[in-house]
Every structure is written in C-alpha cells, then in structure tokens.
Amino acid sequence: METTFKVYRFDPENGSKPDFATYQVDLPDSATVMDGLRHIRDEQDPSLAFRASCERGSCGDCALRINKKGRLGCTLKIAKTVKNGVVTVEPIRNIPVLKDLVYDLEGFLWKKIKSVQPWITPREPEPKGEYVVAEEQLAEVRKAMSCVMCGLCDEGCAVIKIDKDFVGPAALTKAYRAVFDPRDGQHNERLTLVSEPGGVWDCTHCFEANGHCPLNLEPTDRLFEVRDEAIRQGIRSGTRNPKVQRHYDSFLNSVKRSGWLDEGRLAIESEGLTNIAGLAKLLPTVIRAIPKGKAPLPYFHHKRPGAEAIRRIIDKAQRSEA
C-alpha cells in the first residue's frame, strides 16, 4: 500500500522550529504505523527519533497522535487509519517534546503515577508464606491490571489540557488497582491521598478518558469507583480541600431533606457559613442573577412529593456504607 507519511519533526539542538516532513512508503496491507516509521528510519532518514518496544500493544511506549487521534503505533494498521493516502504522525498532546516523536514522560506521567503510590503496602501482620488471594477477590483489580501506562487517557483529558497539575486518569487508574487490592493495608490513607487538590475530585467525569484508552479499561469508571469507595469510607475530601466535603455534604443534605437540590444552599454551604471571604466572592454572581429571577432563595426550598421516601433510601444506603 503506497502511503504518504507526514511526520512531526523537531530537534531542539539545531534550533529549528517544529515542522512536518513527508515520506512515501510502500508496505503490505498488514503493516502497522510503527512498521511505517521503522521503514522511514531504516530506509530514508536515520535521524528520525521515536520510541518503540514490545510491538504488540503491551508496553505503551509508542503512544502517538495518528491522524489526530491518540493511538498505539504498533497495533494500528496503516490500512485502518489512512485517509486519502495520508497518515499524519505527531507526539501526543500536552507534553514536552524532546525530539521528533520522543516526548518527556517524567512530568507528564511518571511523576503523577508515583504520586498516587501505586504499590501495595501489605497488611500487618504479614503471613509466613505468600499472600493467598482468591481469584474472585481480584475481580475488581483485574479491571485495571492490564493498564500499560501509555498515557493516552491523559492525552485526551479535558482537565490536563488546561491544568498540567491534575493527576489525571492514568494515575488514578493505577490508584484504583491498589485501592481494590485485598492485600493492601493503606486503604484509607490511599483514598485520602488521591482526594487531595488535583486528585480524584478535580475530575469533571466527562468520560473522555474512556474513549482514549486503547485497552478499553474505562478509566473514568475506575475513577468513579475510587471516588465512591472513598465516600463509603467517609472520605469526602483530602486534608487540604475541605470545600469539596462541604459541597458533597450540602448536596446530599439538600436531596435528603427535600428530595431535590437547593442550589442556593449548595453555593453558600460549599463556601462555608462562616467563610466571609468565600461568601463575598459569590455576591457578583448573585447580584447579576437576582433581577433575572435566577437566584433561588436558599433554605426556603419546598419538599417534593416523595421526599420522605428519598430520605429513607439515603438513610438505608448510608447505613449499608457504614
């Protein structure tokens, strides 16, 4: 198959600006994008830099932006992605590029993954032999075990796009793997750790990550499960973001009291009833909304029919959590 490869080129050492170079390749229909890159490097331009390792989608090394989508170059066939005879290959987004298609994973991925401490800290006392874990106890963990840390979920993350400090779905998927491991002895400490600013609560739950994971591990669902487990353990924020807990508690109390959301109360209680500076910050929005009839009066929130049944459900569910 004759294909035009448009490949991102950048070499900071020669001071040139990033640009695309064009190469013609003719490879069998079964060839992957990585085969194409190797062919270019071996036959046409030995200066082309890219990462590759396992060649079977198991290491995540060759995560690239191919025809504007985050993909693994070694498992994507040229025939599957080619558009009008062209395959465009770029580094993934939101990441410093070292050279051509080689990017710096330290700040983008490794630092964040390390920050969630993705290792098991054994429960005490340690058994004399090996830890014995039944297969069914690992059912949850297996949902995240095969993550290859390619970073493509972070590449598509709407929050990381604007805030590089957000820990991101890749690291939180690793956190999930440890949180649900029955051998781990740091369950609540770990849940508190990922609840700190920039952690699980900073996710918008937009489900972009699910669409970007090449292994279909549904990182947003994993993240939801970590958050729900934290709530089950009574952890509704980290130690440095109490507003998150106030927001959750106010939302819950509102639904529990009247069956539906008291938006005015939520805004006030999230800031904190004694937080004068926080409440003052709400004023401009409230002043704009009042004349438009868009500022519901807080606390004067009528009960919906069925509110008592909703309250009973919440009470019961909270008892099961405890």
Binding site: C203, C206, F207, G211, V255, A289, K294, I310, K316
Partner: protein
C-alpha cells in the same frame, strides 16, 4: 406516544426559563407528556452511585407504575446519569433485584427494567422525526449562526450513550439546526465538558473552560451557542462574566437552551421563551432574527 416527563432540579431553580420553554415546545408539537412529580434528584454525578442508583431505580419504577415506557428529560446531566444507571439495571438483573428488594419493595415498587430514558433532543430526532418538525416552523432561523454545545453527558460514554445504530446522536444538534434554517458553527469544544462539575472544586479550571468554549465560538463567528444541558447553560451563561474577567477578555456570547431555540423557530417571541432571564444579553440573537424576518 406519551412520555413521563422529568424536568430535573435546575429547570425549576437557577434556569427557570427552561421548564416553560420545554412544555411550550412539547405542546406545540403535540408530544404528550406527564410529569413524574414524586421522585428525587438524579444525584447529578455528584452523589455516590451507592446512593443515587436506588433513587434513580425508584424514579424508573414510578414511570413503569404510570404505565409508561419512556421518560423524557430536558437536561443532559440527568440524561447521562439515568442512562448509565439504567444500563446497569438492564444488564445486571441481580443488581436490579437487589435494589428492588432493599429499597423499593417497602413502597410496593419494583423496577422491571422496561423504561427508556430519552432527552428531548433524542425524542425529536428518533421518535418524532425531524421531517415532522417542518410544518411547525413559522420563523426560519436563516442567517443565525449557532455553535452547538453538547457538553459531555449526552455524548459519553459512547458505548452507552451513542452505541452502534445510534451513532447519529453525535450530530443531532447540527441536523436539527439545519432543519430550523440556522447555520451550524463548528467549535472545537462542542462535546467537551463545560466545567460545571468542578465549579466548586476548582473554579479556576472551570472558568478557563467557560472562556475557552465561549471564546472559541465567538472567534468562529457564532451569534450564539445552543445547549441541551441547563448545567452547561449555567456555567457558560451565568458564569461567563466571571470567566471573562479571569481571562481578561470580553466575550459576550449568548447561550440559548435547545427548547428556546426551537420555540423561536416555532413562532414564539423572545419574551415567551424568557430570553430576558439570561445573564449574557441575547440581543444579538434578536437582531439577527429581525434581519431574517425582513429578508
């Protein structure tokens, strides 16, 4: 076909213009709706699913008890939460039975898993038929440049929200705008998060999303944006002045609820659609509509 109607919290609270606009559109089209009143908030993705799933199963059981099989929403967030919960109820019968036994039985309710939850947008495009809207269009929105803004919950997770056979859901707003005579303006963030879910947690990031989305629509030449989600509306409209201030720029992008835009095309005036309630002035939209009428 008759629908149970779930208006959600925001259409009665901070976006009170949405509820009457939706009802007027349904009445105009002869879509029969009956509000399901004695049910709770979906949890909006905020509450733990341990709490929200039983509440939502109860709502769906109430719909079944009304003898109906379809629930119509007017909020993408309600839609998204319902769709995901309903997916679990339908595909995990043991889970559904557990919720029935533990939470619903004492009220004499049982959710059998028969309800389809559909946003008004989906009702129009899949059940009513876009061609059948044409006789009701009294005022073509010709010349009005509209940037569709889906937000996230009505687009993802794709495997559940827009599965095989329903992938057309990704372009329903554009398809609808085409029928109404408006021009679609493609903005890069149309299916991204509006930032509302993290407004409290990380206001800075949330406001950045607002200025990015509204600013991009303005750069692309849109007269307004249209959204099927009142939470997107809240952030993009009510918080736009704050976002402008943070970004150090003036944007002034009017944000229109989907039912309001339909209402304008069906001949309701701006006041009947309560555009005056919006924080960002919608005068630019009115001016363009005047031009359309004269020409």
């Amino acid at each position: 076909m008759k629908y149970a109607f779930y208006p959600g919290c925001v259409s009665r609270g901070a976006c009170p213009e949405l509820y009457p606009a939706s009802v007027k559109v349904a009445e105009t089209l002869g879509i029969e709706i009956e509000e399901v009143t004695d049910v709770g908030c979906t949890g909006a993705g905020v509450l733990s699913r341990d709490l929200s799933d039983p509440i939502n199963a109860r709502t769906l059981a109430k719909v079944e008890a009304m003898g109906l099989s379809s629930l119509m929403t007017i909020c993408s967030t309600c839609q998204g939460v319902f769709t995901q919960a309903n997916h679990r109820f339908k595909n995990e019968p043991e889970y559904r039975q557990k919720i029935n036994a533990e939470y619903l039985a004492e009220e004499g309710l049982e959710y059998k898993g028969t309800v389809e939850v559909k946003h008004l947008l989906w009702v129009l495009m899949e059940d009513y038929g876009v061609e059948n809207l044409k006789p009701y269009i009294r005022r073509k929105l010709t010349g009005l440049k509209v940037a569709p803004f889906y937000g996230c919950y009505i687009r993802r997770p794709t495997s559940i929200i827009a599965p095989k056979g329903l992938s057309g859901r990704k372009t329903y707003l554009e398809d609808l705008l085409d029928v109404l005579g408006a021009e679609s303006v493609d903005s890069s963030g149309k299916s991204k998060c509006c930032g509302f879910p993290i407004l409290t947690v990380n206001e800075e990031n949330s406001m950045r999303m607002v200025s990015d989305h509204t600013g991009d629509a303005k750069t692309k030449g849109a007269d307004c944006m249209v959204t099927p989600c009142p939470l997107c509306h809240l952030n993009l409209d009510a918080n736009q002045p704050t976002a402008e201030k943070r970004a150090g720029t003036q944007i002034g992008m009017p944000i229109i609820h989907l039912p309001q835009l339909l209402g304008l095309a069906f001949g309701f005036d701006e006041k009947e659609m309560e555009l005056q309630r919006h924080i960002v002035s919608t005068e630019a939209v009115s001016r363009q509509l005047e031009v359309s009428i004269r020409s």
